[in-house]
């Protein structure tokens, strides 16, 4: 039973992380140009999302296909050329929309978790604070 619960939790965590990867990648590329492996390292260092390449690279390919990022290929001292990604203008406006939406969702979920869905008890959050 506990094993099944762990597996369900792991699946939920994976889905949650996958949903956030695109937002995090776009935010990172809004600030800096970076190549694939570098993005992976930076995101893992900064967010603790425990991303792996099988999640990140398809996302990068999809963002490039949708012209939300532009790609610059440059030689690498380590071997094959690196593909540097940077957010396009379309990508920047999409990022703004996504960030606004995310903040709305985050606040709503925070509110729900803190107040148990009781709209009138916003002042007594500590009384029903869940174990997060």
């Amino acid at each position: 039973m506990a094993k099944r619960n762990d597996s369900v939790m792991q699946g939920w965590n994976t889905q949650l992380r996958k949903g956030l990867v695109e937002l995090c990648v776009m935010r990172l590329l809004d600030a800096n140009e970076a190549y694939g492996y570098q993005i992976l390292q930076q995101l893992n260092a900064a967010t603790g999302l425990e991303l792996t390449e099988s999640t990140l690279y398809p996302v990068l390919a999809r963002l490039a296909r949708d012209r939300l990022v532009k790609v610059r290929v440059a030689a690498s001292p380590a071997g094959p050329p690196r593909r540097y990604y940077r957010l396009t203008e379309t990508g920047q406006s999409r990022l703004k929309e996504m960030a606004t939406h995310w903040i709305g969702v985050r606040d709503a979920v925070d509110h729900l978790l803190n107040n148990g869905g009781n709209h009138e008890s916003s002042g007594s959050e500590s009384a029903q604070s869940p174990s997060r």
Binding site: Y37, S54, P58, A61, S76, A78, G79
Partner: protein, 250 residues
Amino acid sequence: MSQAEANLPNPLPDDARRRIDDHLDAIERVLLAGGVSRGERRDVVDEVETQIYEMLAARAEQQPTEAVAAILAQLDPPDAYAPESATAPTAVEPALALRGLWRRWQGWWFPRSSVPRVSRPAFVAAVWFGLAALFFLAAFSYRRPPSLLLSLMFLFGMTAPIGVTALGFWSVRRIRRSAGREYGLPLALVETFFFPIVLANLALIGLLAATDGAGLVVLAVLVIVGANIGLARYAWRRFGGKFLSRVDSY
């Protein structure tokens, strides 16, 4: 040598390069089966290849073969690249599942790997030939009245002359155009010419049997042997010899 290796300070040993290629090919196959477009597949595989070489550069002090093995063990397995639609096709999306199957089928017939491998059509033709021969033997050696299964086996055997010849011809063309990525030319030549030569022999025997005179037996044997040698030499010169002179590894 790939561009990736050309940039490395020292070229990778063959087995290390082959392991990387196999890993990248496996990822590509998973993406192909998942219906991912060609451009995205290439992007993903290129990124993984770049990452492998970046990680290799960080392990410069280690033996390349060991370093590659350690890196590949650290990376996600190819199955992790399966899009969710491919790992769990839903009942409302049979077209997507069919497309995935079709692409997997295509991927098997037309492998994109740079590692040389036996021509797939030549391999299928050889299996076809072997099964047809077995089925024929079974159909003719079975004493009971013919059953549906035996009839089907006989019919399958009857398809071999056309199927094996066509696949053999196709594989000869593919091998010659593959620039070394596919091998098995002798097998493909045998598959291409076996049934036509058998047919030509049967026609000659029939023709000579129809003519009267026991003295013609020697002449018949000479004509048949001569025709076979002539056909084999023609086939080898036309398709095999010229190719061998250009690619001596075959």
